[in-house]
């Protein structure tokens, strides 16, 4: 098992290397690399100085190694817009995005999966059809639209919840989190709800589809023939069987949810990494864009590795040394 883990981690490292090369090529070789370091409206002199200093007249592969070295040291350049090291910028915004995403994803799964199982167990009941209808809405309607409606309803018309920005924070493990304060939750409510709806709909549909399929298998028939109660069948057989595709999607969609946070953060003025990248794109703050890409790539690779491992944990057929 340990060997399996190590193997996966090594593969991940390889993929990261490939990704870094891709990002490098995309930014340095295609665009004008100097634009990543110096703002385009600097004078010719400064540009020439910078080119010499940053070794941009060196051969490409040498530059790549410098790039890689910097990366590993955590040096991702300086933001044009904010003037501070990009790594610091990102780290300061990361907790906001993380707490939003985690809460959204957890809520979506913990509520969505049971609802989906019910809908799959009794596919023709009116409750189940309603659940499905709601899920179609959550799935089809673009996130930004839901955000708008949420703000319109809860903030403008009803005035219950604030329309944006993050609440007060408290420290845990050296990082500031807003879910630790009550006021913080009021601010978290709408954006988290917004972000979670898409995932929620997806989880419902996934659980429903999986349950419907499993209920028709011989495994369930045999369990019924043994006199096992329907509740137990759902709990012990069905849940375990559908958990595999659900976990896979959960892991992959976590990354996607982080991506969609971009939209939610923009609408709700949530000071996270998502808003950072939108601002960066709009103002052509290249170092931030590069750093964001690298960060996202790293995140995805990590998620893939974790999902692989959890997959093996859940499905004994995938564990190494499976055949007796």
């Amino acid at each position: 098992m340990l060997g399996f883990i190590i193997q996966r981690i090594l593969q991940a490292a390889l993929v990261m290397l490939a990704m870094s090369a891709l990002v490098f090529v995309g930014v340095y070789a295609i665009g004008n690399p100097i634009d990543v370091i110096i703002s385009p409206d600097a004078t010719q002199d400064i540009r020439a100085q910078a080119i010499a200093r940053y070794g941009l007249d060196r051969p490409l592969w040498e530059q790549y190694f410098v790039f890689l070295g910097n990366l590993l040291r955590g040096d991702l350049g300086r933001s044009f817009l904010f003037g501070m090291p990009v790594i610091d910028l990102i780290l300061s915004r990361l907790p906001a995005t993380l707490e939003l995403t985690l809460i959204a994803v957890l809520a979506a799964t913990l509520i969505g999966v049971p609802l989906g199982i019910y809908a799959g167990y009794r596919p023709d009941s009116p409750v189940s059809k309603t659940i499905l209808a709601v899920s179609i809405l959550g799935f089809s309607v673009p996130t930004f639209w839901i955000g708008l409606i949420l703000i319109l309803t809860f903030a403008v018309q009803l005035g219950w919840l604030p329309a944006g920005s993050r609440g007060p924070t408290r420290e845990l493990f050296g990082i500031q989190w807003s879910f630790l304060t009550l006021e913080g939750w009021k601010h978290l409510a709408l954006p988290a709800l917004n972000l979670s709806l898409f995932k929620f709909a997806m989880m419902i549909r996934l659980a429903r589809a999986g349950t419907r399929e499993v209920m028709l298998t011989d495994t369930v028939k045999f369990a019924r023939a043994a006199g096992i109660s329907e509740a137990t069948i759902l709990r012990r057989h069905v849940l375990k069987l559908i958990s595999i595709p659900i976990v896979t999607v959960f892991g992959l969609e976590f990354g996607s949810t982080l991506a969609f946070a971009v939209v939610t953060e923009t609408i709700f003025s949530w000071p996270g990494v998502g808003k950072l990248i939108i601002d960066a794109i709009n103002s052509l703050d290249r170092p931030v864009m590069v750093a964001y890409l690298v960060l996202v790539a790293a995140l995805f690779v990590t998620i893939n590795v974790v999902v692989d491992l959890v997959y093996a944990l859940l499905d004994p057929r995938l564990r190494p040394g499976a055949k007796a």
Partner: protein
């Protein structure tokens, strides 16, 4: 047939129909038979004959859009068709068990053998962990699985096909049922393993006085196992009787055809005789005898479906039994 002891199971005019979008499929249409303790009934027929659905009907496992539309299934003094779902659930696995064809599909691949057996144990009895485990190990040993304690921790894919089916049989035997319905349990296995399991089941059944319905398409397998045979075609019984009598002197042309196509009955080097044609669609059964289009002995009389005639040799539904053709 004389029945000295009261039958354990009495099926009377059972009909199970499926109400599909395309029409009504009369999967089982008027089947009757009786079974005593310790007896083995071989239910023989091609796919589509209704043999599996008969088995499901007895266990109350017919999925919608199917439904038992008429008939009675009397078991231990009760009519199973009239029981509530909870009452049926109490019987399933405890008094009547079922074994399916493919153990790879019936065993849950993500649960250990022990976990699955435990679920079956706890479905009917509240046993302590140790007592449950003891029961599981004892039953596994009974079906011929070597080293049960280590097998209990294994996953289904770690066992061979024959072992998996034995586990399924063990689960069926856990609560010492009075009746086991086995739906093609050896069809998916190697021939050698088949023979083993048939032999073991025969011993098991004799020792514990369990009644068994062995559903199969292969006459050869039931010949050594069954006390009685019932042949089904297109949802109806066509011939029934003691095994020896049927094998020695089959009266229905279909039974004849089945027997004649058994390889061991034919000399080498000669083409195997086949029954021409194929099974009719169960959607479009008319008033005629369903087998007539394929029957070598069909006559005008076969435009109307024959009635069942019961005599000392068994039951028969045919206008022109083989050997007595006009």
């Amino acid at each position: 047939m004389t029945q000295p002891a009261a039958p354990l199971l009495e099926v009377e005019d059972l009909a199970t129909h499926f109400f599909t979008r395309a029409g009504v499929v009369k999967a089982v249409d008027g089947v009757s038979f009786a079974l005593r303790r310790g007896e083995v009934l071989g239910l023989v027929g091609e796919s589509g004959s209704g043999k599996s659905v008969t088995g499901y009907s007895i266990l109350g496992l017919v999925d919608p859009p199917g439904r038992i539309v008429r008939g009675a299934i009397r078991f231990e003094g009760r009519d199973l068709t009239k029981l509530s779902p909870d009452q049926m659930k109490a019987i399933r696995g405890r008094r009547i068990s079922m074994v399916f064809q493919d153990a790879t599909a019936t065993l849950n691949p993500v649960l250990t053998i022990g976990d699955q057996m435990l679920l079956a144990v706890q479905a009917h009895e509240r046993l302590s962990g140790r007592a449950a485990r003891a029961l599981m190990i004892e039953t596994l040993a009974k079906v011929g699985i070597p080293d049960p304690p280590s097998r209990v921790k294994a996953y289904p894919h770690q066992l061979s096909g024959g072992m998996r089916q034995r586990v399924a049989i063990a689960i069926a035997l856990l609560h010492r049922p009075a009746l086991i319905v086995a739906d093609e349990p050896t069809t998916a296995l190697d021939v050698s393993v088949q023979a083993q399991i048939i032999h073991e089941m025969r011993e098991l059944v004799r020792r514990s006085d369990t009644a068994m319905i062995w559903i199969t398409h292969d006459l050869a397998t039931v010949s050594s196992l069954a006390d009685h045979i019932m042949v089904m075609y297109a949802g109806k019984m066509v011939e029934a009787g003691p095994t020896r009598a049927i094998l020695k002197n089959p009266r229905h042309p279909y039974t004849r055809g089945l027997l004649d196509s058994v390889p061991s009955r034919n000399p080498r080097g000669v083409d195997l005789p086949q029954i021409p044609g194929s099974t009719p669609s169960l959607l479009r059964l008319g008033a005629a005898c369903a087998f007539a289009p394929r029957c070598a002995f069909a006559t005008e009389a076969c435009r109307t479906a024959p009635e069942t005639v019961t005599d000392e040799a068994g039951a028969l539904r045919c206008h022109n039994p083989a050997g007595l053709a006009a």
